[in-house]
């Protein structure tokens, strides 16, 4: 998957990774990798500024917390983040079903 194609949907994917509960940056990255069978290949260092931008937009809330002797910045969805995730999801479904209809597997015309 090209980095450019991924970047356009990064916000939505980050919000989706936080949907099931608060996580720190590296855990978000691991979810994106696992959920895409390793096809999500943006450098890990680009996740952190993106999360901070979502924080500034009010879509996530961040808090430093200590766990296992390591201080980590943990991100959590806000109500506004949940709404944005729903919107992104809806837009993506519309877009992808339109593209699938046009670009999906070729159906041979039925001959009788």
């Amino acid at each position: 998957m090209s980095a450019q194609a991924l970047k356009g949907h990064l916000d939505g994917m980050l919000l989706a990774a936080l949907e099931d509960g608060p996580r720190h940056g590296y855990a978000v990255m691991e979810i994106l990798r696992a959920g895409s069978d390793g096809r999500f290949d943006l450098p890990t260092g680009t996740i952190y500024p993106a999360l901070r931008r979502l924080e500034r937009a009010g879509h996530v809330r961040a808090q430093w917390s200590e766990e296992g002797g390591r201080r980590r910045r943990v991100y959590e969805l806000t109500p506004s983040g949940r709404r944005t995730l729903d919107d992104e999801r809806h837009a993506w479904q519309e877009f992808s079903s339109a593209v699938t209809a046009l670009l999906g597997p070729h159906r041979r015309p039925v001959t009788s």
Binding site: H24, G25, Y26, A27, E30, P43, T44, G45, T46, Y48, P49, A50, R52, R53, R56, A57, G58, R70, R71, R72, R73
Partner: protein, 231 residues
């Protein structure tokens, strides 16, 4: 290279390379570096769990995070926003207070705006008008900065360091004008002003002048250092 010293060296050198490319408020930079450090430790753990040695895992973590220029560049917009907010916030907070102090000073029991103060030369009037226009630009710059660096991020195109510099610089003409008019007045009729609000208003304007000068320099320096290609 083996052992924990070598691991710290790999991670430390990488973080140091990023640190030299970050500009903006020191606290925000420290916060970013601390978060990256924890992330690199998590990444190293993951690579060790996959069977790499400590040093190999640290190197793999650094490779996974991406080049220091690229990582630092990713934070530029965030740091610019943090710097702009830091510059503008004191102006927004203190602005109405300084305005109020001067209003109390000018009134001094009578309702007389500064351009009608006895002894104010007629030529001062256009200067006051220009200063008020500059102040209006400053207020607009401050509000725009707060909006584009806050919730409206991404919805409105913003140049936070430019609008923050306008917010700071725009306060200078009104402060200079008021201080000059005030000095003329005090020299002519010293007893005209109540000492406390007058002295406080003048001091506040002097402080804001100094602050504005420093703020503009900070904004311009952050902007220059965060341009792509600069390292």
């Amino acid at each position: 290279m083996t052992g924990p010293g070598a691991v710290d060296e790999v991670i430390g050198a990488y973080l140091a390379e990023i640190a030299t490319r970050l500009t903006g408020p020191a606290r925000a930079r420290r916060d970013i570096l601390a978060e990256l450090e924890a992330g690199l430790a998590d990444a190293s753990d993951a690579h060790r769990a996959a069977g790499l040695s400590a040093v190999q895992a640290a190197r793999a973590a650094v490779a996974e995070f991406g080049g220091p220029e690229r990582v630092a560049e990713g934070f530029h917009a965030e740091l610019a926003a943090a710097q702009a907010r830091r510059v503008v916030l004191p102006l927004v907070t203190a602005g109405p207070l300084i305005g109020g102090l001067w209003t109390v000073t000018a009134m001094g029991g009578r309702t007389v705006p500064p351009w009608q103060w006895a002894g104010t030369p007629a030529e001062a009037r256009p200067v006051i008008v220009l200063a008020v226009l500059a102040l209006a630009a400053a207020i607009a710059g401050a509000l725009f900065t707060m909006a584009t660096t806050g919730r409206l991020v991404g919805r409105l195109p913003g140049r936070p360091l430019v609008t923050a510099a306008i917010a700071a610089a725009g306060t200078a003409p009104i402060d200079l004008t008021l201080l000059a008019l005030f000095a003329v007045q005090v020299a002519a009729t010293p007893s005209r002003f109540a000492v406390f609000p007058a002295a406080t208003a003048a001091a506040a304007s002097l402080i804001r002048l100094a602050y504005a000068g420093r703020a503009v320099r900070t904004c311009l320096a952050t902007r220059t250092l965060s341009r792509p290609g600069h390292s």
